[in-house]
Amino acid sequence: MKAGALLERGGPVARSLRISGSTHVMAAAISAAVSLNGTIALQTLGVLGQAAVVAVVFLSVAACTAAISVDILGRSTKAVSDLRSIGASRWSISSALFGSMLVYGAAGSFLGGVVGATAGSALFGGALGAQTLAEVLAVLAASVGAVAAGAYAGGRITWRS
Protein backbone atom coordinates (compact mmCIF):
# COMPACT_ATOMS: atom_id res chain seq x y z
CA MET A 1 0.00 0.00 0.00
CA LYS A 2 1.43 3.37 -1.00
CA ALA A 3 2.03 6.08 1.59
CA GLY A 4 -0.66 8.19 -0.10
CA ALA A 5 -3.24 5.49 0.45
CA LEU A 6 -2.08 5.06 4.06
CA LEU A 7 -2.81 8.69 4.77
CA GLU A 8 -5.96 8.77 2.67
CA ARG A 9 -8.16 9.57 5.62
CA GLY A 10 -11.29 10.10 3.59
CA GLY A 11 -10.57 7.12 1.34
CA PRO A 12 -13.14 4.48 0.49
CA VAL A 13 -11.88 1.93 3.01
CA ALA A 14 -11.89 4.45 5.88
CA ARG A 15 -15.43 5.51 4.97
CA SER A 16 -16.52 1.88 4.65
CA LEU A 17 -15.35 1.38 8.23
CA ARG A 18 -17.24 4.54 9.22
CA ILE A 19 -14.12 6.24 10.49
CA SER A 20 -15.60 9.67 10.98
CA GLY A 21 -14.61 13.12 12.14
CA SER A 22 -15.61 12.09 15.66
CA THR A 23 -13.10 9.24 15.56
CA HIS A 24 -10.39 11.68 14.48
CA VAL A 25 -11.31 14.15 17.22
CA MET A 26 -11.25 11.37 19.82
CA ALA A 27 -7.78 10.19 18.76
CA ALA A 28 -6.44 13.76 18.70
CA ALA A 29 -8.05 14.79 22.00
CA ILE A 30 -6.78 11.76 23.93
CA SER A 31 -3.22 12.21 22.63
CA ALA A 32 -3.35 15.96 23.27
CA ALA A 33 -4.59 15.58 26.86
CA VAL A 34 -2.06 12.89 27.78
CA SER A 35 0.82 14.75 26.10
CA LEU A 36 -0.12 18.05 27.73
CA ASN A 37 -0.15 16.55 31.21
CA GLY A 38 2.95 14.50 30.49
CA THR A 39 4.94 17.51 29.33
CA ILE A 40 3.96 19.54 32.40
CA ALA A 41 4.89 16.64 34.71
CA LEU A 42 8.29 16.20 33.04
CA GLN A 43 9.23 19.75 34.04
CA THR A 44 8.80 18.98 37.74
CA LEU A 45 10.51 15.59 38.00
CA GLY A 46 13.94 14.01 38.10
CA VAL A 47 15.19 11.51 35.57
CA LEU A 48 13.49 8.46 37.11
CA GLY A 49 10.19 10.28 37.47
CA GLN A 50 10.46 11.51 33.89
CA ALA A 51 11.04 7.95 32.65
CA ALA A 52 7.95 6.83 34.56
CA VAL A 53 5.86 9.65 33.04
CA VAL A 54 7.00 8.80 29.51
CA ALA A 55 6.06 5.17 30.17
CA VAL A 56 2.63 6.23 31.45
CA VAL A 57 2.13 8.45 28.37
CA PHE A 58 3.00 5.53 26.10
CA LEU A 59 0.77 3.02 27.87
CA SER A 60 -2.21 5.37 28.19
CA VAL A 61 -2.20 6.47 24.55
CA ALA A 62 -1.53 2.92 23.30
CA ALA A 63 -4.41 1.51 25.36
CA CYS A 64 -6.83 4.20 24.16
CA THR A 65 -5.81 3.84 20.51
CA ALA A 66 -6.05 0.06 20.67
CA ALA A 67 -9.52 0.35 22.21
CA ILE A 68 -10.68 2.76 19.46
CA SER A 69 -9.29 0.42 16.77
CA VAL A 70 -10.96 -2.65 18.26
CA ASP A 71 -14.23 -0.74 18.56
CA ILE A 72 -14.17 0.48 14.94
CA LEU A 73 -13.27 -2.91 13.47
CA GLY A 74 -15.70 -4.66 15.82
CA ARG A 75 -18.57 -2.40 14.79
CA SER A 76 -17.77 -2.85 11.12
CA THR A 77 -17.74 -6.64 10.85
CA LYS A 78 -20.16 -6.66 7.90
CA ALA A 79 -18.18 -3.98 6.05
CA VAL A 80 -14.94 -5.86 6.75
CA SER A 81 -16.46 -9.11 5.51
CA ASP A 82 -17.86 -7.36 2.40
CA LEU A 83 -14.49 -5.77 1.65
CA ARG A 84 -12.72 -9.10 2.13
CA SER A 85 -15.14 -10.76 -0.31
CA ILE A 86 -13.95 -8.44 -3.09
CA GLY A 87 -10.26 -8.83 -2.39
CA ALA A 88 -9.29 -6.55 0.51
CA SER A 89 -6.29 -7.79 2.47
CA ARG A 90 -6.12 -7.37 6.23
CA TRP A 91 -3.43 -4.78 5.70
CA SER A 92 -5.47 -2.69 3.28
CA ILE A 93 -8.26 -2.55 5.88
CA SER A 94 -6.00 -2.04 8.90
CA SER A 95 -3.93 0.63 7.16
CA ALA A 96 -6.99 2.85 6.63
CA LEU A 97 -7.52 2.80 10.38
CA PHE A 98 -3.82 3.01 11.18
CA GLY A 99 -3.38 6.06 8.92
CA SER A 100 -6.26 7.94 10.53
CA MET A 101 -5.10 7.20 14.06
CA LEU A 102 -1.51 8.14 13.30
CA VAL A 103 -2.22 11.45 11.57
CA TYR A 104 -4.72 12.73 14.12
CA GLY A 105 -2.94 11.18 17.12
CA ALA A 106 0.34 12.83 16.09
CA ALA A 107 -1.38 16.20 15.58
CA GLY A 108 -2.98 15.95 19.04
CA SER A 109 0.31 14.94 20.64
CA PHE A 110 2.14 17.84 19.03
CA LEU A 111 -0.48 20.32 20.15
CA GLY A 112 -0.59 18.88 23.68
CA GLY A 113 3.21 18.88 23.92
CA VAL A 114 3.54 22.52 22.85
CA VAL A 115 0.74 23.71 25.14
CA GLY A 116 2.12 21.60 28.00
CA ALA A 117 5.61 23.05 27.61
CA THR A 118 4.27 26.60 27.55
CA ALA A 119 1.93 26.00 30.48
CA GLY A 120 4.68 24.28 32.51
CA SER A 121 7.03 27.16 31.85
CA ALA A 122 4.40 29.68 32.98
CA LEU A 123 3.47 27.64 36.06
CA PHE A 124 6.96 26.83 37.27
CA GLY A 125 8.78 29.88 35.92
CA GLY A 126 11.34 27.99 33.83
CA ALA A 127 12.65 29.21 30.49
CA LEU A 128 11.64 27.51 27.25
CA GLY A 129 15.05 26.14 26.27
CA ALA A 130 16.74 23.03 24.98
CA GLN A 131 15.71 21.09 28.08
CA THR A 132 12.01 21.83 27.46
CA LEU A 133 12.37 20.99 23.77
CA ALA A 134 13.89 17.62 24.70
CA GLU A 135 11.00 16.96 27.09
CA VAL A 136 8.41 17.84 24.42
CA LEU A 137 10.16 15.58 21.93
CA ALA A 138 10.27 12.72 24.44
CA VAL A 139 6.53 13.00 25.08
CA LEU A 140 5.82 13.40 21.37
CA ALA A 141 7.86 10.30 20.49
CA ALA A 142 6.19 8.28 23.24
CA SER A 143 2.73 9.41 22.20
CA VAL A 144 3.15 8.91 18.44
CA GLY A 145 4.84 5.56 19.02
CA ALA A 146 1.95 4.62 21.29
CA VAL A 147 -0.64 5.58 18.64
CA ALA A 148 1.12 3.36 16.11
CA ALA A 149 1.53 0.49 18.58
CA GLY A 150 -2.06 0.81 19.82
CA ALA A 151 -3.58 0.87 16.33
CA TYR A 152 -1.46 -2.12 15.32
CA ALA A 153 -2.36 -4.03 18.48
CA GLY A 154 -6.06 -3.22 18.03
CA GLY A 155 -5.94 -4.62 14.50
CA ARG A 156 -4.15 -7.76 15.67
CA ILE A 157 -6.65 -8.33 18.46
CA THR A 158 -9.59 -7.96 16.08
CA TRP A 159 -8.17 -10.19 13.34
CA ARG A 160 -7.29 -12.89 15.85
CA SER A 161 -10.86 -12.96 17.12
Partner: protein, 214 residues
Protein backbone atom coordinates in the same frame (compact mmCIF):
# COMPACT_ATOMS: atom_id res chain seq x y z
CA UNK B 1 -12.46 -25.29 -11.27
CA UNK B 2 -12.25 -28.67 -9.58
CA UNK B 3 -13.71 -29.96 -6.32
CA UNK B 4 -12.17 -33.17 -4.98
CA UNK B 5 -13.78 -35.18 -2.20
CA UNK B 6 -15.32 -32.07 -0.73
CA UNK B 7 -17.25 -32.39 2.49
CA UNK B 8 -18.97 -29.42 4.03
CA UNK B 9 -20.85 -29.42 7.29
CA UNK B 10 -22.18 -26.84 9.71
CA UNK B 11 -22.03 -28.63 13.06
CA UNK B 12 -24.11 -31.79 12.71
CA UNK B 13 -25.69 -30.61 9.48
CA UNK B 14 -23.99 -32.17 6.45
CA UNK B 15 -24.34 -30.06 3.30
CA UNK B 16 -22.05 -32.06 1.02
CA UNK B 17 -20.51 -35.41 1.89
CA UNK B 18 -18.17 -36.36 -0.97
CA UNK B 19 -18.56 -33.91 -3.79
CA UNK B 20 -16.61 -34.24 -7.03
CA UNK B 21 -17.11 -31.53 -9.54
CA UNK B 22 -15.23 -30.12 -12.48
CA UNK B 23 -16.02 -26.97 -14.37
CA UNK B 24 -14.08 -26.51 -17.60
CA UNK B 25 -12.74 -23.15 -18.69
CA UNK B 26 -15.20 -21.09 -20.70
CA UNK B 27 -18.26 -23.11 -19.77
CA UNK B 28 -21.51 -21.79 -18.39
CA UNK B 29 -23.03 -24.06 -15.77
CA UNK B 30 -26.18 -23.42 -13.78
CA UNK B 31 -27.06 -24.99 -10.46
CA UNK B 32 -30.73 -25.29 -9.60
CA UNK B 33 -32.38 -26.60 -6.47
CA UNK B 34 -34.63 -25.74 -3.57
CA UNK B 35 -33.87 -23.03 -1.05
CA UNK B 36 -31.58 -24.37 1.65
CA UNK B 37 -30.02 -27.11 -0.48
CA UNK B 38 -26.49 -25.68 -0.29
CA UNK B 39 -26.25 -23.76 -3.58
CA UNK B 40 -24.90 -20.61 -1.96
CA UNK B 41 -22.46 -22.71 0.07
CA UNK B 42 -21.04 -24.09 -3.15
CA UNK B 43 -20.65 -20.62 -4.69
CA UNK B 44 -18.97 -19.40 -1.51
CA UNK B 45 -16.59 -22.35 -1.51
CA UNK B 46 -15.64 -21.69 -5.13
CA UNK B 47 -15.00 -18.06 -4.20
CA UNK B 48 -12.96 -19.07 -1.17
CA UNK B 49 -15.30 -17.21 1.16
CA UNK B 50 -16.16 -20.46 2.91
CA UNK B 51 -13.73 -23.31 3.32
CA UNK B 52 -14.72 -26.96 2.93
CA UNK B 53 -14.64 -29.09 6.07
CA UNK B 54 -12.59 -31.62 4.08
CA UNK B 55 -11.37 -31.92 0.53
CA UNK B 56 -9.63 -29.79 -2.06
CA UNK B 57 -10.79 -27.00 -4.36
CA UNK B 58 -8.62 -26.12 -7.33
CA UNK B 59 -9.34 -22.88 -9.17
CA UNK B 60 -7.28 -21.89 -12.21
CA UNK B 61 -4.73 -24.54 -11.26
CA UNK B 62 -4.29 -23.29 -7.69
CA UNK B 63 -5.36 -25.10 -4.55
CA UNK B 64 -7.39 -22.40 -2.82
CA UNK B 65 -7.98 -24.59 0.23
CA UNK B 66 -4.24 -24.34 0.99
CA UNK B 67 -4.14 -20.53 0.80
CA UNK B 68 -4.24 -18.29 3.85
CA UNK B 69 -6.96 -15.63 4.10
CA UNK B 70 -4.94 -12.79 2.58
CA UNK B 71 -3.66 -14.91 -0.31
CA UNK B 72 -7.25 -15.98 -0.94
CA UNK B 73 -8.47 -12.39 -0.92
CA UNK B 74 -5.79 -11.39 -3.44
CA UNK B 75 -6.57 -14.42 -5.60
CA UNK B 76 -10.28 -13.59 -5.49
CA UNK B 77 -9.64 -9.98 -6.49
CA UNK B 78 -7.69 -11.04 -9.58
CA UNK B 79 -9.63 -14.09 -10.65
CA UNK B 80 -13.23 -14.08 -9.53
CA UNK B 81 -16.14 -11.77 -10.12
CA UNK B 82 -18.78 -12.49 -7.53
CA UNK B 83 -22.41 -11.40 -7.50
CA UNK B 84 -23.64 -12.67 -4.14
CA UNK B 85 -27.23 -13.27 -3.17
CA UNK B 86 -26.85 -11.09 -0.09
CA UNK B 87 -25.92 -7.55 -1.02
CA UNK B 88 -22.35 -6.65 -0.16
CA UNK B 89 -22.20 -3.10 -1.48
CA UNK B 90 -20.94 -0.54 1.02
CA UNK B 91 -23.93 1.76 1.66
CA UNK B 92 -21.77 4.76 2.64
CA UNK B 93 -19.91 4.79 -0.67
CA UNK B 94 -21.18 5.97 -4.03
CA UNK B 95 -22.00 3.58 -6.83
CA UNK B 96 -18.77 4.62 -8.58
CA UNK B 97 -16.67 3.94 -5.47
CA UNK B 98 -18.30 0.56 -4.91
CA UNK B 99 -17.52 -0.52 -8.45
CA UNK B 100 -13.98 0.85 -8.08
CA UNK B 101 -13.13 -1.01 -4.85
CA UNK B 102 -11.78 -4.29 -6.33
CA UNK B 103 -9.38 -2.27 -8.51
CA UNK B 104 -8.34 -0.19 -5.49
CA UNK B 105 -7.32 -3.38 -3.68
CA UNK B 106 -5.41 -4.55 -6.75
CA UNK B 107 -3.52 -1.21 -6.69
CA UNK B 108 -4.61 -0.30 -10.22
CA UNK B 109 -3.65 3.33 -10.89
CA UNK B 110 -6.32 6.03 -10.82
CA UNK B 111 -6.58 6.64 -14.60
CA UNK B 112 -6.88 2.95 -15.41
CA UNK B 113 -9.42 2.58 -12.59
CA UNK B 114 -11.58 5.31 -14.04
CA UNK B 115 -11.60 3.75 -17.51
CA UNK B 116 -12.49 0.32 -16.20
CA UNK B 117 -15.17 1.60 -13.80
CA UNK B 118 -16.80 3.75 -16.49
CA UNK B 119 -16.80 0.80 -18.88
CA UNK B 120 -18.29 -1.62 -16.33
CA UNK B 121 -21.01 0.82 -15.25
CA UNK B 122 -21.90 1.61 -18.83
CA UNK B 123 -22.09 -2.08 -19.65
CA UNK B 124 -24.78 -2.77 -17.06
CA UNK B 125 -26.53 0.56 -17.49
CA UNK B 126 -25.79 2.21 -14.14
CA UNK B 127 -23.61 5.10 -15.34
CA UNK B 128 -26.35 7.58 -14.49
CA UNK B 129 -26.25 6.49 -10.83
CA UNK B 130 -22.47 6.94 -10.41
CA UNK B 131 -22.70 9.62 -7.73
CA UNK B 132 -25.57 8.13 -5.75
CA UNK B 133 -24.83 6.52 -2.39
CA UNK B 134 -25.28 2.76 -2.68
CA UNK B 135 -27.47 2.84 0.43
CA UNK B 136 -30.12 4.80 -1.47
CA UNK B 137 -30.49 2.29 -4.33
CA UNK B 138 -33.38 -0.11 -4.78
CA UNK B 139 -32.72 -3.83 -4.41
CA UNK B 140 -32.69 -4.28 -8.18
CA UNK B 141 -30.34 -1.34 -8.72
CA UNK B 142 -27.97 -2.71 -6.10
CA UNK B 143 -27.92 -6.02 -7.90
CA UNK B 144 -26.97 -4.28 -11.15
CA UNK B 145 -24.17 -2.38 -9.37
CA UNK B 146 -22.95 -5.69 -7.90
CA UNK B 147 -22.86 -6.98 -11.45
CA UNK B 148 -20.78 -3.99 -12.60
CA UNK B 149 -18.42 -4.52 -9.67
CA UNK B 150 -18.04 -8.21 -10.51
CA UNK B 151 -17.14 -7.37 -14.11
CA UNK B 152 -14.90 -4.35 -13.48
CA UNK B 153 -11.69 -6.34 -13.31
CA UNK B 154 -12.59 -8.49 -16.28
CA UNK B 155 -12.22 -11.70 -14.23
CA UNK B 156 -11.92 -15.07 -15.98
CA UNK B 157 -14.49 -16.58 -13.61
CA UNK B 158 -17.90 -15.20 -12.77
CA UNK B 159 -19.88 -16.62 -9.85
CA UNK B 160 -23.49 -15.53 -9.60
CA UNK B 161 -25.84 -16.43 -6.79
CA UNK B 162 -29.47 -16.01 -7.86
CA UNK B 163 -28.60 -13.01 -10.07
CA UNK B 164 -32.13 -12.29 -11.29
CA UNK B 165 -34.03 -13.03 -8.10
CA UNK B 166 -34.51 -9.41 -7.04
CA UNK B 167 -34.84 -7.91 -10.50
CA UNK B 168 -37.83 -6.70 -12.44
CA UNK B 169 -38.36 -8.24 -15.92
CA UNK B 170 -36.54 -5.39 -17.69
CA UNK B 171 -33.47 -5.62 -15.50
CA UNK B 172 -33.55 -9.42 -15.75
CA UNK B 173 -33.37 -9.07 -19.52
CA UNK B 174 -30.28 -6.85 -19.19
CA UNK B 175 -28.60 -9.48 -16.99
CA UNK B 176 -29.57 -12.29 -19.35
CA UNK B 177 -28.15 -10.30 -22.25
CA UNK B 178 -24.90 -9.80 -20.34
CA UNK B 179 -24.62 -13.46 -19.50
CA UNK B 180 -25.28 -14.42 -23.08
CA UNK B 181 -22.68 -11.97 -24.37
CA UNK B 182 -20.11 -12.75 -21.70
CA UNK B 183 -20.10 -16.45 -22.16
CA UNK B 184 -20.31 -16.44 -25.92
CA UNK B 185 -17.88 -13.66 -26.77
CA UNK B 186 -15.35 -13.55 -23.95
CA UNK B 187 -14.86 -17.17 -22.99
CA UNK B 188 -15.52 -16.44 -19.34
CA UNK B 189 -16.31 -19.35 -17.03
CA UNK B 190 -19.70 -18.79 -15.44
CA UNK B 191 -21.25 -20.65 -12.54
CA UNK B 192 -24.69 -19.51 -11.55
CA UNK B 193 -27.24 -20.66 -8.99
CA UNK B 194 -30.78 -19.89 -10.02
CA UNK B 195 -34.46 -20.61 -9.83
CA UNK B 196 -34.99 -18.68 -13.04
CA UNK B 197 -35.64 -20.94 -16.00
CA UNK B 198 -34.47 -18.21 -18.40
CA UNK B 199 -31.05 -18.20 -16.74
CA UNK B 200 -30.67 -21.99 -16.65
CA UNK B 201 -31.76 -22.16 -20.29
CA UNK B 202 -28.73 -20.04 -21.19
CA UNK B 203 -26.34 -22.43 -19.47
CA UNK B 204 -24.57 -25.16 -21.36
CA UNK B 205 -25.40 -27.54 -18.54
CA UNK B 206 -27.73 -27.38 -15.56
CA UNK B 207 -27.02 -29.34 -12.40
CA UNK B 208 -29.74 -29.95 -9.86
CA UNK B 209 -29.47 -30.34 -6.11
CA UNK B 210 -32.63 -32.06 -5.06
CA UNK B 211 -32.25 -32.59 -1.35
CA UNK B 212 -32.83 -29.96 1.25
CA UNK B 213 -30.31 -29.96 4.11
CA UNK B 214 -31.91 -31.41 7.24
Amino acid sequence: MVLRHVRKSYGASEVYTDLHFQLLKGTFVALAGPIGSGKTTLVNMFAGIERPTEGTIIVMGQDITAMDDDALAAFRAKTIGLVPQVQTLIPELTVYENVELPLYFLKVDRDARKKKVDAAMSRVGVSGEAKRAAGTLSVGERQMVSFARALVNDPPILLLDEPTEALDPLMSEVVLGLLRGDNMTEGRTIFVTTHDRKVSDLARRTLRVSKKIP
